[in-house]
């Protein structure tokens, strides 16, 4: 080797060493090639989809589970990584709410019960085997029966085959099946329909079959019966120019904010309003049917002035409402929620049913045939009876399944203390909770995504429940457990076989397969003609409460869109995303009116004390504009055990506590309120005014040459008329994109990581408007020019891409983003095991020091383009749907290619309604907002 060669070699090797040591972070995933060819048509990188049912709330939406193959702890396996609404499903038609999106957080919950647990003499749980547990149960059942004690099976709402199996089980094992427990039992609605129509049911309400909607307290977009269904119906009917919606409530709700007209009335005065409307309409043109004179005579009558005085609604508003109602052809009334959960709640429900009967049901807006399946659900009177039996020590083996009464029942039920009076308590649950901790034997339930089953959310609809993953722990489905206890010794039937047999019997073999492929079976039932039960109605009206209460400082315990009755409180995703109106994330708070805040001299985060009937609690304050004075709001889960009364007639739980005394404690609580301010102040985030069309603002001459787009420029249109601010998109975005959950501390520092947020703003009229804010993928992006290393760069398809590997973390892009949608990884965030099983393998987990933001779900664009490329064509409109658009209950988000003039998004982006956020900055966003059209728009 001569000198020259030596130097060459030296040069090459040293520069090679240098180059190879630069840059690339070490890959954090091992690549294992397939040795064994994949079975069951599993291809690497290709997702599988299963149809099943969401069990997060009683609505039981259809669910599509995305299962992806990935490496977890060095094992290659299949994991559910995302939940979507099941397209075409009669309830949710492809949409899913935030609670549904969080379902995976229950599947992979760190506190899942992993094996049967048996309490020893010291009250500590020890691990037991299934056989031991089953034998113990059988033994206890025998001794209890021989001792003359009653065994009970106490569960939350159960539908479908499992409900039948429980019946079989109870019959065979001599167990009494109690009425099912739901804290929101809608007892007043059922009782009212029993009185008025002889139908003790919650009917199916079809908003899309109506042209006028009057909602009394029913929070139809949040928690009332089937919120996603109502939202999809609303989106359909919103297209109709002649749809009017009045919402009447004594507080402030997300639903109310969406109505064409939100009226605030004095608490518990809804019955006055309804009596007035009935009086006004009876024997007028508007009444399709006239109430029998017997009813009309006994019904209290109110004049307009007096009604206005009693309800607090201005007379012109009353007139307006009555006029709209009279004009309507297919009016629909929904009374529920706060309006039927107080001392006059039953009256409200009865009068609402009467009014609906009067104005008719021509278009079958209200359908008793397809009523909600609350057949087995009892009321709190049933629970009270059960508690009394406990107190008398007359109960033997006490099964509690999928219910958490200890955390949910008012403290005066003394459930947890009295539970110990049962001879033996068996708790069935997937996640450890307050009630399960009190049980002597704990049986781990498989999550519905790990087990077989079916559900009947309302009559005529059967949903399939099928496993998308093997049980992760030594857990079993409830059906399997019951079958095993029933058939000990004999050859035990599996619940799967039990179900398959039933399905086969009911649908035939083809039908069974079809059922599992589609995930549901819908058989509309013949319409039920309802008739008025005059005698029953009159006897109720005779007894009805007619006192006009003037209560002070009403404390409302309302369900939460995030946590429902509190059952979502242990799902970390639901803590991470904000409550829509207050934008509070972690922790509990109490919303008070601005007037009360100034009277008490408190502001956001100041703690106040509320004392009621020998019970007091301290909570930080969130001052809420639009909330009526003397009204306080707490989400039920926060203070579930407050002693609240129940209606002695129907067993409905009151949601309100009257005459509370309030004082400030002087403390300040660190409460994460994400909105820095909710005052938009004409900043150009909300549309300026209706005349202002698209692109009317100053022409901006760009400094740098404009981008050219070949074939694609991805864009989005967000219809603010349809957006209901429910935050489902936010939840979907978190799960799809592996967005880290950072916790309360980081939220207090303003470091939430959401790529998409739904911003509530007060508009010029003082009403709340929601603006979903995400990366606008600007054509003239302020973030791109300032990045020193081209980590923020404009790709040829108009996407503003963030190259994670290249990012050095100057945060200049985030500073310069006028929309402030960029998120910096302040730490290395990783979901705790086993929650990390849900990570989407199509995306990386971003390390500390890296900027990230909305990518328009680039992984979905990628896979659609791959398919298109294989087929030698361009991606067609509708082939790429980002997670936010897919889950949106009102289909407010449209995504597509702005280069394709036929695409839906192109048409929306060039419609009269389109505007850009902060248009005057000249950033040329790819996200187009569609302004509201006002109430009487042209379709």
């Amino acid at each position: 080797m001569d000198r020259r060669d030596f130097l060459k070699l030296l040069g090459i090797t040293s520069s090679a060493t240098l180059i190879s040591s630069c840059g690339v972070d070490k890959a954090n995933e091992k690549i294992i090639p397939y040795v064994v060819p994949p079975e069951e048509e599993i291809y690497p990188g290709k997702a599988l989809y299963f149809s099943t049912t969401c069990t997060e709330c009683p609505a039981q939406c259809g669910l599509q589970v995305t299962v992806k193959e990935k490496v977890y702890h060095d094992n290659r396996s299949l994991f559910p990584t995302k939940l979507e609404g099941l397209a075409g499903h009669p309830i949710n038609d492809g949409a899913l709410c935030a609670r549904g999106q969080a379902g995976l957080f229950r599947l992979y919950h760190p506190q899942r019960i992993k094996r049967p647990l048996l309490k020893d003499e010291n009250g500590n749980f020890r691990i037991a085997t299934w056989n031991e547990a089953v034998e113990r149960i059988q033994k206890e059942l025998q001794t209890a029966t021989s001792a003359g004690l009653t065994n009970v099976f106490f569960a939350s709402r159960t539908t479908g085959s499992l409900a039948d199996l429980i019946d079989e089980f109870c019959q065979k094992m001599k167990v009494k099946r109690t009425k099912e427990f739901e804290i929101f039992s809608h007892s007043n609605i059922r009782e009212a329909n029993r009185i008025v129509f002889n139908q003790p049911l919650i009917p199916a309400y079809y908003i899309d079959r109506s042209d006028f909607l009057l909602t009394l307290g029913a929070d139809i977009f949040e928690t009332f019966i089937s919120p996603v269904q109502f939202a999809t119906q609303f989106a359909r009917v919103r297209e109709n120019s002649h749809f009017t919606w009045f919402h009447i409530e004594p507080h402030l709700s997300l639903t109310g904010v969406q109505a064409s007209q939100r009226l605030v009335l004095k608490a518990e005065s809804e019955w006055v309003l309804l009596a007035y409307v009935i009086g006004k309409l009876s024997h007028s043109q508007a009444a399709k049917r006239n109430l029998p004179s017997g009813i009309l005579q006994i019904l209290p009558r109110f004049e307009e002035e007096h009604t206005s005085q009693l309800t607090g609604i201005a007379t012109d508003h009353l007139q307006q409402m009555v006029d709209s109602l009279s004009r309507a052809v297919k009016p629909l009334l929904i009374a529920g929620g706060v309006s039927t959960a107080h001392s006059h709640g039953l009256e409200v429900a009865v009068l609402a049913s009467l009014l609906q009967w009067m104005v008719g049901n021509d278009n079958n807006q209200i359908d008793f045939a397809g009523a909600e399946n609350y057949q087995q659900v009892g009321s709190l009177l049933d629970v009270e009876e059960l508690v009394n039996q406990l107190a008398q020590k007359s109960l033997g083996v006490f099964f509690i399944s999928r219910a958490n009464p200890v955390a949910q029942l008012p403290v005066n039920f003394e459930f947890s203390q009295r539970l110990h009076n049962a001879q033996f308590t068996v708790g069935l649950s997937d996640v450890m909770n307050e009630t399960i901790r009190e049980c002597q034997l704990v049986l781990p339930l498989s999550h519905p995504l790990e087990s077989w089953g079916d559900a009947v959310p309302h009559y005529g609809l059967r949903n399939a429940i099928q496993p998308a993953i093997e049980p992760q722990f030594d857990s079993r489905s409830e059906g399997d457990i019951l079958l095993q206890i029933m058939n000990s010794g004999e050859s035990t039937q599996r619940y799967k076989d039990y179900l398959f047999e039933r399905w086969h019997k009911n649908f035939g073999e083809e039908g069974r397969k079809d059922f599992l492929t589609h995930g549901y079976r819908h058989e509309p039932l013949p319409k039920i003609q309802w008739s008025l039960n005059t005698a029953q109605t009159i006897s109720f009206l005779k007894e009805m409460k007619r006192d006009e209460t003037e209560a002070m400082n009403l404390l409302w315990l309302v369900p939460s869109i995030r946590t429902y009755d509190g059952r979502g409180r242990d799902l970390s995703l639901l803590q991470e995303i904000p409550d829509p109106i207050t934008t509070v994330t972690y922790g509990d708070w109490i919303s008070i009116s601005s007037q009360m805040a100034s009277a008490l001299k408190v502001s956001d985060r100041d703690e106040i004390q509320i004392a009621t009937h020998g019970f007091s609690l301290q909570l930080p304050v969130k001052v809420q504009k639009l909330l009526p004075d003397k009204t306080l709001l707490i989400q039920r889960g926060a203070v579930a055990t407050l002693p609240v009364e129940i209606d002695r007639r129907s067993g409905e739980l009151y949601w309100v506590i009257t005459n509370t005394s309030i004082s400030r404690t002087g403390k300040r609580i660190a409460l994460p309120i994400l909105a820095g301010s909710m005052e938009e102040e004409g900043r150009g985030l909300l549309p300026e005014d209706a005349e202002h069309g698209h692109g009317h603002n100053a022409e901006h001459k760009p400094w740098y040459p404009e981008h050219e787009h070949v074939n694609y420029r991805w864009g989005m249109a967000i219809d603010l008329e349809k957006c209901i601010g429910c935050n489902a998109c936010v939840a979907a975005c978190y799960v799809e994109n592996n967005i880290p959950l950072v916790g309360a501390e980081e939220h207090l520092r303003g470091r939430e990581m959401s790529w998409l947020r739904v911003q509530p703003y007060f508009d010029k009229e003082g009403q709340i408007e929601f603006v979903p804010m995400l990366c606008q993928h600007c054509d003239n992006a302020p973030c791109e020019t300032v990045c020193p290393v081209y980590a923020a760069y404009h790709n040829p398809e108009g996407l503003n891409v963030q190259v994670y590997n290249r990012c050095v973390g100057t945060r200049y892009c985030a500073n310069n983003c006028p929309y402030k949608v960029r998120r910096f990884n302040w730490f290395d965030h990783h979901l705790p095991e086993p929650l990390d099983k849900m990570y989407n393998p199509d995306l990386s987990i971003r390390g500390r020091g890296i900027m990230e933001k909305c990518t328009f779900c680039i992984q979905r664009i990628r896979s659609a383009k791959d398919i298109a490329k294989d087929e030698g064509r361009l991606v067609q409109d509708g082939e790429v749907i980002p997670a936010c658009a897919q889950t949106c209950p009102t289909k407010a988000i449209t995504f597509g290619n702005l280069e394709d003039k036929k695409s839906k998004v192109y048409q929306l982006a060039h419609s009269e309604r389109a505007y850009h956020a902060l248009e005057e900055l000249g950033t040329k966003p790819a996200v187009n907002y569609l302004r509201k059209r006002g109430n009487d728009h042209e379709a």
Partner: protein
């Protein structure tokens, strides 16, 4: 020999002795000061390493305030670095003789301040370990930097400024190093021999030297303007109200000279006292440099007024909202204190008596240092904390890492400066000789 020449030689000898006194074996106080500075520096460095390991989240910066004390410190130190070049190069070109007593320490200050400042862009990086990606170096992946980004301009501006300042400082020191070489023994003599580059003081050498020095002065002068202009463009090139304004370049340059001059006073006044240089650094000198301070203070104050005038005259809603917030919002006390330090207090320098009162000047200089730091803090933080989208408004307050690293930067600066006073001549000996000769 003429008596005048005798006197000159005598002056020169005492001058050399006086200045080289400073370079004698240090006293315990010196060691203590050095140890303290080094300790602060170490604390800062350890904090930085810890922050890289844990994540930037241990600091107080957040969304929306992505830049906080680190960038404030960066601008502050770059500003400090300004006067060095101004005093040595610009005043040299203008033949302002009073510079001679200040220029050596001012230049040293410049070099150390740029070194300190240069650390902050690296400290504030989310992934500091790949800081070299900010440089355009050839690599196999064909990755290049984005020359549209003001941060890349920064990289060049600051590194150029550092290189030129260091060379200028060193070249100006060569004749003095030769003097030191003459007056030291042993190993030190050999080191100074190397660094004095064989300086003999011949006429030919002086001729070349003067040309070079003049050239470098002319070369460095535009840098005074450019560096801080570029730093100001980090802000001015953005779209953020409060940052996006055309007056930033001159405003920042004036502010930089203002703060740099104040820092010169902060350093020179104790140095003069400790090394007994009252003979050379006279009250007249202080009188003159105070006038520079006063003049730049007036420019800065004018800029403050213009900023508000532009915002309100322009009638731009975001600008109006921002400047109202700056004056009356969450950070109002910082802003008011800044106004007091930078605009009100320096007005006292119109009084000649105060310009010649050393203790007063020292205290004033400290106030100005604080005021100028606050100016940058207010500009950076208030602009980010409330910009376009009210939902995302948020406040920022520094946490311990910011404080530790800021402390560390002062530690670093003073550590280098203390070392400088012991190893290099603290006054420009030859130039003072020249001045005396004339």
């Amino acid at each position: 020999m003429k008596p005048e020449s005798m006197k000159q030689i005598e002056f020169n000898t005492t001058l050399e002795q006086d200045i080289l006194v400073a370079m004698r074996k240090p006293r315990p106080v010196y060691w203590l000061a050095l140890a303290l500075s080094a300790l602060c520096f170490a604390v800062g460095m350890v904090t930085w390493i810890y922050m890289m390991l844990k994540g930037m989240g241990i600091a107080g910066i957040n969304n929306p305030v992505g830049w906080g004390v680190f960038i404030t410190d960066f601008v502050f130190w770059v500003g400090i670095a300004h006067s060095g070049t101004l005093i040595s190069a610009v005043l040299f070109l203008f033949r302002a003789k009073f510079r001679n007593v200040f220029n050596r320490s001012a230049e040293a200050m410049t070099v150390f301040a740029v070194m300190t400042a240069g650390l902050f862009p690296l400290i504030h990086l989310g992934r500091g370990w790949i800081f070299y990606w900010l440089f355009p170096y050839p690599n196999q992946r064909q990755l290049w930097v984005n020359f549209q980004s003001p941060l890349i301009w920064d990289v060049f501006a600051v590194s150029t400024y550092f290189t030129i300042s260091a060379i200028f400082w060193y070249i100006g020191m060569v004749p003095d190093l030769a003097i030191v070489r003459r007056r030291t023994e042993g190993i030190r003599k050999r080191i100074y021999s190397i660094f004095s580059l064989g300086w003999t003081g011949s006429l030919r050498q002086w001729q070349h030297y003067n040309k070079l020095y003049m050239f470098l002065a002319a070369f460095a002068t535009p840098l005074v303007i450019s560096v801080h202009s570029v730093v100001s463009w980090d802000f001015a090139m953005s779209v953020i109200p409060g940052w996006h304004t055309t007056i930033f370049a001159p405003y920042f340059v004036a502010g930089a000279i203002f703060s740099g001059t104040a820092m010169v006073l902060t350093l020179v006044i104790p140095m003069r006292k400790i090394f007994r240089l009252e003979k050379y650094i006279t009250l007249d000198h202080f009188d003159k440099i105070s006038k520079v301070l006063l003049f730049t203070s007036l420019i800065v104050t004018y800029s403050y007024i213009v900023e508000f005038a532009l915002a309100f005259y322009g009638g731009h809603k975001f600008e109006e909202a921002h400047f109202t917030y700056r004056l009356l919002g969450d950070y109002r006390y910082f802003y008011w204190l800044m106004l007091f330090c930078n605009s009100l207090l320096p007005l006292s320098l119109f009084v000649k008596k105060l310009r010649r009162k050393i203790s007063y000047l020292f205290i004033l200089s400290l106030f100005v240092n604080v005021g100028m730091w606050l100016e940058r803090f207010v500009i950076i933080v208030t602009s980010l904390s409330k910009d376009f989208d009210p939902y995302n408004w948020g406040l920022y307050f520094p946490r311990w890492p910011e404080i530790a690293i800021t402390l560390g930067s002062f530690g670093m600066f003073f550590m280098f400066f203390l070392i400088f006073t012991k190893v290099l001549p603290i006054l420009a000996i030859t130039e003072i000789k020249e001045e005396a000769a004339e």
